[in-house]
Symmetry: C2
């Protein structure tokens, strides 16, 4: 074996990547027999772990395996991939494997989800459309959101996101979709719903969910990118849950 | 006056910002009595020009004025602003001043235009929606593009972009819009239409234009961002022309 022959290249995701980065770094620093390089590729965190001095000796391999186990045990729920694959790519691969078509209805993300997805070559085999319904009128006219619902609950509400999901599925006939509505700031917040409040919805075959998040103290564009990642993660989790259940039923 | 009190902060745009950057740098280097800092903020080029040693003496002011004149004369058509304003912000301000509503129909840009626009706080007062119609079906179902036109001319064609413009205006009732269809690569090119071919359309009150561009040797994501800028520039130029004509007619 030659130098650098073996390594563990893993990507993590967290709504708070800075904190996660420090936690992982601290844990890796406490392990023996390994060295590592890490970086934040907002909102993801990437680490590459090598045997100490990058020598692939038997002892080095053992240390690396031990490091893997420790990391999986402590950060398992944050690990996106163990081969350097980022969340959007993993998301696209998942849909591609299952032959599912995808669309989105974006308000506060303002095209950030579509932009993230279409930055990956070959995404056209999975991604159908995004309706970036920034104004209330476009939510009503293009996605069929009820103006009464907007008046009653506000454009940033679980109710509106539910209707955005219904609208995008109805308009495009896709198998799964995400929708977002939130307050990216710096203006537009209220006492009830401050800057950073966002409703993210996801629909997959046989399942639909909308969740409220509060992402505080984040700059407008970081907020938008983060919400785009959160949306993809949300749908991915639903799909993985659905897959598990469907497998038992022998459906997928 | 104190050090650094005066400067000339200008932003330029070109489909080939690297070449432009070198040209401007070379010209500034040949001028006397000034110093400068420049950077490429793809696809824009930004320069800040000071009197030599940043001293705002009478002579320094004169040198700076001379530099301004030279730059305006040689790069006038590339200058986006002389106060550091970037193209998307200038675009939004123009629409805001004229009280025009804006939407887009994006194919190859895949949400990059919406993403660019909505990254600016306050964009919601101008920007209504973007329909990211990535698949042919979404061009037909969401924008009313005729499937016969797609079969006859291909999705990447002037004819389809004209229909995308008609569709987005009809669906949203906005005053002006842009539409894009092109081959971002790395796959998808043909002999007739290779990677980098793109049709950009823009519609403003009383004017509609579609133009073919060929942007060669550019990485997929740079291509998408560049086409987004080209689209905004295209509409801005039409608006400025329309404004000039309309002013004579006393309409705007």
């Amino acid at each position: 074996m030659k130098k650098g022959d073996i390594f563990y290249n893993f990507v993590l995701f967290s709504p708070d990547p800075f904190v996660l980065y420090c936690q992982v770094k601290s844990m890796l620093g406490s392990l023996k027999g390994i060295s590592f390089e890490g970086r934040i590729n907002f909102p993801e965190v990437c680490f590459r772990v090598f045997p100490e001095n990058r020598i692939a000796s038997r002892e080095g391999v053992r240390s690396l395996e031990k490091a893997k186990e420790t990391l999986r045990k402590n950060f398992g729920k944050n690990i996106v991939s163990e081969d350097g694959t980022t969340l959007p790519l993993r998301f696209l691969r998942e849909l591609f494997t299952r032959r599912l078509k995808f669309a989105c209805a974006e308000s506060c993300t303002g095209g950030a989800i579509a932009n993230l997805i279409t930055s990956i070559p070959g995404s056209s085999s999975v991604f159908v459309t995004s309706i970036v319904s920034y104004s209330n009128e476009s939510k009503e006219n293009l996605l069929g959101v009820d103006p009464v619902t907007i008046r009653k609950y506000g454009a940033v509400s679980s109710e509106v996101v539910h209707q955005m999901l219904n609208g995008i599925i109805k308009k495009t006939g896709v198998d799964c979709a995400v929708a977002t509505s939130g307050i990216a700031g710096p203006e537009g917040g209220s006492k009830e719903k401050g800057v950073g409040v966002v409703y993210v919805g996801a629909v997959a075959p046989e399942k639909k969910l909308v969740k409220r998040f509060e992402i505080k103290g984040m700059e407008r564009n970081d907020f938008r990118v983060l919400v785009a990642f959160v949306s993809l993660k949300f749908l991915l989790e639903i799909l993985e849950g659905a897959c598990y259940k469907s497998k038992k039923k022998g459906k997928l």
